[in-house]
């Protein structure tokens, strides 16, 4: 059995960890991250590799000439940026077909990591506002409430983006965003601008709701990724509690 050299093993490890951490930070599922890392390692000639992925960290070990190499990578920030997941996926496909060398692969992955977001913040806020208005109609709201939901949803999403950038505490950002939504909905109804408080709040809260997390958590649990499933579920419950308490504070004020 021929083994690859020590330096090469470290280089392969760097590439795998970089690809895995970009995917995990930007919202890929646990099993896809594991799959991608194993594929890259296999494509570069590693006979045996093992990885353990949780939402907060990656552990990867590769068998080489020397004793097994293991590396741990901590993941602190998690967002949803599926464009980067698609890009890394493309790169890993090309690595599997053997058309990309190790050096080139590393630089391509670095480019993806440093890339700025595709859509500007303003564009995202507009999208959230329009989506809120549409959700209002989908949940049997009346067209008269479209404008209040539009404003509340947009401002709420803007608040969550802004507070998250300033304070780095996700929980607080969500509480304040939900509070802003609640206040706007109540003001809209009390001034006669809107008609149903509940419908306006449900519609405009949707961009903040952890729907993706809940679904992914159950999916991970069923697929046997117990640690990831439970921690994602905990994050989802925390977010839901944050939204609920923000709205609750708005209820108490009015």
């Amino acid at each position: 059995m021929t083994y690859i050299s020590v330096e090469k093993t470290y280089d392969i490890m760097e590439i795998c960890i970089l690809a895995g951490s970009i995917m995990l930070q930007n919202g890929a599922e646990t099993h896809r991250v594991e799959d991608t890392m194993t594929r890259i390692a296999t494509a570069y000639g590693v006979k045996d590799s093992d990885c353990f992925v949780t939402p907060t960290g990656i552990i990867l070990s590769l068998e080489g000439e020397e004793p097994t190499k293991t590396k741990l990578n901590r993941i602190i920030e998690r967002t949803t940026n599926l464009e980067k997941v698609v890009r890394v996926n493309d790169i890993s496909r090309r690595i599997s077909t053997g058309t990309v060398g190790m050096n080139e692969a590393y630089h391509l992955l670095k480019d993806v990591e440093d890339e700025k977001c595709t859509y500007s913040d303003l564009f995202q806020v507009m999208a959230a506002a329009i989506a809120s208005g549409c959700f209002l109609i989908m949940f049997d709201g009346v067209w008269r409430d479209f404008i209040p939901a539009f404003i509340a949803g947009g401002l709420g999403f803007l608040c969550s983006l802004y507070f998250h950038k300033v304070l780095q505490i996700k929980f607080f950002a969500e509480v304040s965003a939900a509070f802003v939504i609640g206040v706007i909905a109540f003001l809209a109804v009390s001034t006669g601008f809107g008609s149903e408080v509940d419908k306006i709040i449900i519609g405009s809260v949707m961009p903040l709701v952890p729907g993706l997390l809940i679904t992914n958590a159950v999916r991970d649990l069923m697929a046997g990724h117990l640690v990831s499933g439970i921690s994602k579920g905990a994050e989802a419950i925390l977010t839901a509690t944050a939204i609920g308490s923000g709205i609750a504070v708005a209820f108490l004020v009015f």
Partner: protein, 152 residues
Amino acid sequence: MSEFFAQAITSFVATFGFGIIFHIPRKLLVQCGFIGMLGWMAYWAIVFFYHNEVLAALSGSFLVAVISQLFARVYKSPVIIFSVAGIIPLVPGGAAYNAMRHFVENDYYVAVSLAAKVCLISGSIAMGLMFSEVINQLIFRAHARKKGLNKV
């Protein structure tokens, strides 16, 4: 009938908007909107005719997942790109909100029953996703065996 069109158009636009929030690549946004619309219309039709939200969420998410896997093969992108945005309209945001509201108002009986409903609906969404994955794997494995391929 106008209600039908209003639901179709708003679900398309809402999913499209969510695609932007999730940073889905520009060229795939319309496909995501389409999947979201199909999933929501299935949900809406079943709620309309059978008044069963759990069954509706199950079939909606199943449809979303099946078409997502089809699109993932056609456009050579991860499945999650298509399924994430499509699932969003089915998420029981309204029921979760109502549960929270009743908790705040000290109306625990109603709140707990609503919370149980939220759990059931989100569980059924996950079940829909799982079913489609199982079927996909069965079909793909049978296909691979026929061609004599080992590589998945």
